[in-house]
Symmetry: D2
Subunit: 135 residues, 4 copies
């Protein structure tokens, strides 16, 4: 499906314990970035755009922060924990706020419901990565 | 695994024939962006970095272009074919050149071999999307 | 103001003739990426969002493509002309279509007028870079 | 030069006190993203790449985080302070660590010296924005 785990396995710096938590978080961040980009666009295509302005804005922020998160976590060479932790905190904040907003519209718009699910999964994956890195 | 198809299915603008080609190309672009980011980083972590400079540079370009490609293709509202086609051409060019470079190192470095595969799959997906959009 | 030219001057691969065209195009792409991100957001904050849906979508595409363009042009090590040209063509297409749409709203909304100007400047800079690279 | 202030001035949501701090931080983030992309590439073009691996990796992270930062701060519609603050903290961390690394190589490589300056300016701008938002 994707090559996240295969690339981590074949990286010269392999063997660390937190690989599974990192791989899950990279995948969740990529999915959330795409889902939020898609949800912003689907909201733009709805009849009542004006009621979805907050949702669109949070989607755009969340997509940008998740995309940066996937890249920073993908890099294993000379990793700096201070940067990675602060980046994961930012990603968790974006996913939490955006997911809560999407959940409000989920009953009426299926794309917001799917996006809320993706944001929640990414939030949990960020928390999982933070826990794994603290161990 | 990811929500690409679910988001396309729940988008207010659904039902077009090219959805399968778009979904495949979005997934291939996201995977190639991540794989190239990872390959650049894995190359940086190898002992003989200086022999991999061209590979790293092409990986970085390919990752940036694939990431833009996934976003542009994800958007379905008020799509502009001129932009989408030119973006797909740029992505195909990056994947072709980067994939050929990675293939040269594939016998010695497994991450380059995985990355070559991902670039080739993305090149084919871009060509498939261009064909579907021309129909 | 920015460090584009200082970085090009201090790069180990310096001295090429097209540096001025590249520097101008990097600056115009960065400005256009920011202006389009801002215009999409300003449009979202207007009362009549539904009349601006096409403008917002094109702004988002143009911002993503310009951002990739600035990065690809910034890299001077092992540059590949095929990728750079295709990327510049994609950026020119996005700037032309987005700038034309913004210009339609410029009389009523100043942010669209500023954005149209930034898109047009970036289109010209992409054409200038394409000419310089062909020389 | 750029249109950051003009776009903030013409945004429907104008008039806030923190605009100057935001504008400076957007400009510093854009400059730092470009400078770090350029420094990673210049380091790749140096003879002794292997001594610059840590610098390149931090440059790549810093470029991605600064790019996300410029986008999040650019958006003024329905701003969420929790996300903005966490994003600014991540950007400040990346600029601090990357700037310190670049400064170590500044005496021998001018591009690292310029980049260290850009990282430090962006760190200060992030701190200034955090202070302005807390007021």
């Amino acid at each position: 499906m994707n090559h996240v785990r295969e690339m981590l396995r074949t990286h010269p710096q392999r063997g660390s314990n937190e690989i599974e938590a990192l791989a899950s978080c990279i995948e969740a961040s990529m999915d959330c970035a795409q889902t939020c980009t898609s949800c912003a666009d689907a909201c733009l295509g709805e009849r009542d755009v004006s009621g979805l302005v907050r949702c669109i804005r949070l989607n755009l922020d969340c997509a940008d922060i998740c995309a940066a998160n996937a890249r920073v976590l993908t890099r294993r060479t000379e990793a700096n924990l201070e940067i990675i932790r602060a980046q994961l905190e930012a990603c968790a904040a974006a996913c939490r706020v955006c997911g809560e907003e999407c959940a409000k519209h989920g009953a009426h718009m299926e794309h917001c419901s799917v996006c809320a699910e993706s944001c929640e999964a990414c939030l949990r994956a960020c928390e999982g990565a933070l826990t794994a890195l603290a161990a």
